[in-house]
Subunit: 770 residues, 2 copies
Amino acid sequence: MSTVIGENVPRVDGQEKVTGRALYTGDLKLAGMVQGKVLRCPYAHARIRRIDARKAETLPGVVAVLTRDNLKVATPYIGAMIKDQPVIALEKARYAGDVVAAVAALDDAVAEEALKAIEVDYEELPAVMSVDDALSPTAPLIHERIERSRPPAYGRGASYIAHEHSNICHHFHYERGDVNEGFRQSDLVFEDEFVYPTAQHYPMEPTISVASYEGDSVTVWSPSQAPFATRQEISRVFGMPLSRIRVIVPHVGGGYGGSKGALTSILAVALSRHVRRPVRVAFSADENFKTICQPQIKVVIKTGVKKDGTFVARQSRVYLNAGAYVYSTPSVAEKAGYRSHGPYHIPYVLTDSYAVYTNTVPAGAFRGFGGHQAAFAYESQADIIAHRLAMDPVELRRRNLLGRGEEYAAGDTPIDCDLKGMLEELAVAIEWDKKEEPPKDPRFKRGKGIACAVKDGGGSGKSASATVRIMSDGSAVLSTGSVEIGQGVRTTMLQITAEELTLPTDRVEVAALDTHTTPFDHSTNASSATVVMGQAVQRAAQDARQQLLSAAASTLSVPVEEVQLREGRIIVKEKGWSLPEIMRLCFANVGGEVVGRGSFNQIRDENVPLGQRSPFWEVGFGGAEVEVDEWTGAIRILKYVSVTDAGKMIHPVHCRGQDEGAAMFGIGLSLFEELLYEDGKLANPNLIDYRLPRFRDLPHSFASRIREDAGGPGPYGAKGVGEGGILGVAPAVCNAVFNATGVRIRQVPLKGERVWRALGQPAVKTPVRQ
Amino acid sequence: MSTVIGENVPRVDGQEKVTGRALYTGDLKLAGMVQGKVLRCPYAHARIRRIDARKAETLPGVVAVLTRDNLKVATPYIGAMIKDQPVIALEKARYAGDVVAAVAALDDAVAEEALKAIEVDYEELPAVMSVDDALSPTAPLIHERIERSRPPAYGRGASYIAHEHSNICHHFHYERGDVNEGFRQSDLVFEDEFVYPTAQHYPMEPTISVASYEGDSVTVWSPSQAPFATRQEISRVFGMPLSRIRVIVPHVGGGYGGSKGALTSILAVALSRHVRRPVRVAFSADENFKTICQPQIKVVIKTGVKKDGTFVARQSRVYLNAGAYVYSTPSVAEKAGYRSHGPYHIPYVLTDSYAVYTNTVPAGAFRGFGGHQAAFAYESQADIIAHRLAMDPVELRRRNLLGRGEEYAAGDTPIDCDLKGMLEELAVAIEWDKKEEPPKDPRFKRGKGIACAVKDGGGSGKSASATVRIMSDGSAVLSTGSVEIGQGVRTTMLQITAEELTLPTDRVEVAALDTHTTPFDHSTNASSATVVMGQAVQRAAQDARQQLLSAAASTLSVPVEEVQLREGRIIVKEKGWSLPEIMRLCFANVGGEVVGRGSFNQIRDENVPLGQRSPFWEVGFGGAEVEVDEWTGAIRILKYVSVTDAGKMIHPVHCRGQDEGAAMFGIGLSLFEELLYEDGKLANPNLIDYRLPRFRDLPHSFASRIREDAGGPGPYGAKGVGEGGILGVAPAVCNAVFNATGVRIRQVPLKGERVWRALGQPAVKTPVRQ
């Protein structure tokens, strides 16, 4: 019936973006604005004995230099989960790239010159670059004292273990039954170790913020996925009430979880407050690489099975390299641990996951959020198990997959879709049972692999609110804090508003995001905006609709039950009024409007405790067909199929875009992307040395199959779909490589050299193919 | 008990304004912005045979020229009440100053040059400059065809009479009983004619707008008192949904009812839509004079009284010179007519008031809105009556004043304060019974006069809405559409919010006014924001408070009745939580906020029909002591006392500022201000020839006495106080001149020459005093 939900309506931001009219933070020009730049420590770990900025300060065009010596704040520490990162380094710097000073100058060139003129007296300290080194009893402590977060342990079986005087900043523990008893009951036990790389988010738009401090208020422009969290950090650091801080989000060029703008916003505010002029802090590509990354994750996974393939027990140890500061890594650690059970029925589970400080670039949230790393481990191991049991990998999974309504873990949301049906769909789509003709040239081998994974849609505790205003001409304006990071969320929210008000989509506008006027949203993350903000928007629109119906009923002197809103008209029995007509009647000739508000707060609305209760289950089933060049180790993905469940697709093209985009992210991480260190420094902080996937890396055949199982808690049964596609890529590809070559690779990305070595380093007989 | 209401808290906009940081529309600089200027007709009435803009268009730096020939709009007519004004003149121009073309150019100089290059072929038409001329049967019709508004006749006894093929654009008729029967019952009947001048609002900030049309949306910056009405006009003229139009109101340098920005906004949008660049249209001081004015009003008033001074019957004929286009003049006509009864018990009333087109500058709303012109007539006549009856003017008024709770007119709000008490207070304050020592030099005469007037707070039908958000740190942001035009309204609204949330005022911020995010407000006018928006804001704050209490109750698992909000803390029995603490509990660790909404719609909330039902009664009782120089006619106001009722003063200093400011306006209009025409053109459109009051024109003694009779419908019993002070000035001064000299002057302003002639033109014996 709906003419809006499930339709590919034009994007809210589409025309502006394709015509180049869309303005990003970097386009902003404010009168008197100066440029902020930061000085970075060249050592992985160093004590700062002295900083002398006097020479820099006297350079013509330099407006100010901020160091630990003149940074006057309520607290210098920031951090999404643990307040461990000084805005500007204090007693020491903890990685090569750590910020030790900030300059405001009339232009970039002067600012660069000023940075060079700052004298820093460093005392180099021993550094630890890997988790193994950091866990050594003799390892230097990277943080001598931190305020460790103590979130309430969530769900039955989950707890947190504190490690004092250790580089372990977070330890998540989960158990279900006695895992040793499980292993005793098993016929076979498998133990394997898998490593997933540290990588860069690399959104098109770099990290940037502009701040303008005036009087005792500040306005910040920043492409943040979490403008309300940014506001919160500014409030805390500078001791300002939230009501005096405006965070405005212009158009945003991608996010992917990289906390874009968190540090630049604080630096810009600090500088602007100091110099009382607008300040722009824009990081270069090199600096973006040195600001935040995906943590490297090592998973040691031990699984006990019956001879018939039934899973009995699983023990996982998950190690995350959190880098020098943790951002959301503690949460990623929990999720990687919690998600390492996989979508299977496993009676005995024991998981320990650790986030560990090292002297590397800070790690944090990244699309997939621990889910794809865990899936790489358990789905690679599933094929190891199947191979050993001489079972069909599809059959092994069919036997163990959770059914709809079964609990993933006690107390968590039951599985909300038909996983087994998706497995069958995947098998058909990848033509699992069809044996392909082998390539003519025997150096090329072909094989197929699959992987099945799920990811919860973030922990409970999300909170969102929205307002919907119906204008006197019947058009409407929605105010929502969900950030448009390319996923189409503002169009989706517009569709929900239009649907509830029975309006065509071109009668609804979405107001600019400004924390001073936009109602609160937790953050745009975990593929959850459609579910979380979607419900807030739906309620706001329903509140507006109900007020309209009540006003119409009172104006027309009929009971409210007799008033209906249909196709943008108020209907009472057989009579109808257009919205402008009824608004004119309700508000007489003076105009007027209806303001609806809606909010969603998972903890209060669903009466669930803070912590682990997924709002929904995001599904990432992948099937890959690959060709391996045994001479070079080069891998081509011939075909990739992603199967997921959207619950209900509000905007099918956007859903497909999200699922394909997530799969393409997975392809980059599985084949190419990896941050590398040399001598304590990031060695490839640029797009020459760090390889992103390109168009020609697209699989020859690439399909996203999205089901609508109607089990989501979002409006009309919707769920989120932004991350499912990434989950299955690495294991499906590695399983296909095994299927093609008989060689099991336990570390991605599958760069040519790594594959070539794994294949037994066959002699190169012809020049390497590019 | 309150620490906020009734306190002179710092102004929201104070620091910004006194430090020069406040940005006004004229400070706005947008990339690519061009300057808009208009060509004005030099004739009072002329047919436009042809416009040739080709030469102007080819001048270097000229971006576009808009005339009737290329103005493509949904409808070219605008107007607050009657859509009679073309954005750009069509077949003819109706006053000297009418806009016949608009130019967009790179700078002002080029734009001026382009205006000169536009060739217009005019055919001059006979013009009518006065109401008398316009009403002559042979007068040319100024508007051949207009859509006349047909508002529902309000209140018992009120009606509208249509005049086709006439220059009368609006005729309001009111009767109570048979006035001729009233005159028959009277012992004496008085008939007098009074004239009040046409004048300029002259706010410090000129008329200006900036528009930026992008895609199919437009953003307008304008110092409008009625941004939502401006949005409505743009929607109508350009056929755009309201949701695609943003009107942003920066700081505003005064309003006084002059529809500032109405015409410039439409012109700026038209130009920006045409050239697809931001366009700034700023009128010069000369142009402001030629844009809108206060209508000249002639009142012919006939009053029948008993010998003891009891008022029996009153017939008024009120003539307004509406100028070439009417803006709100029809409404001013109604109000001047309706207000001509005065605050007295009069059994028989007959009123006809007429707004009449002439070929002069368009008239419209002006502080006082017909009230001071009517009061000038009836309060001057009251003294004529008292003199004839040999009664004390105070005693005459005492005998006739309406008591608290008595109806002004059937169906209207009863008098909501103690008028008689105010008369006594005025008499004491002006030392009515004390005979002053006469000046030593007999050329100077001294006298005292009083006047008593009331003014309704605008007709019913006002509508306002607001939101109040409580942030997770317990600070709050208010969104209100009331425009800060210097009166302090945003501070008042902040106080109401703070009071309801029991917060200190520095924990509340008021968000910038932007129609895209700010809830609807009818307009900031008729001194009614405190009452109308005040109730919306109070309800929004109460809604937020109630949600907070509910959330706290559910979080703390106690009945909501047991939860209290006191001094910014949530209290349950003897335990207390600060707002940040309780917000953290309610929203767990994720942050969150409460969004409260409130609206006020007089018609629906108070169940009153559209039209005349005053939300409250504004009081303007004035007492003047003057010195008249008989040789020159110069008048000095030695003492002025204004007595009014605020119901409850939310911010006493602002109330006093409003009342004193209104009285000072009255002084300017009574002594100096008057627009003059010569040869069909405005002769004094500048501050050299048009005399505004200066500091040295302040009365030597100037007091505003504000009562708090607690009878207002606004929060805490508040009423509005922005216009009362103007009501009594002209009659009190003229009564004082009569008291001093025995000469009755029936026309203001009391310029030296006019007074000197009225005094019988005594010979000038010494040089004229400056």
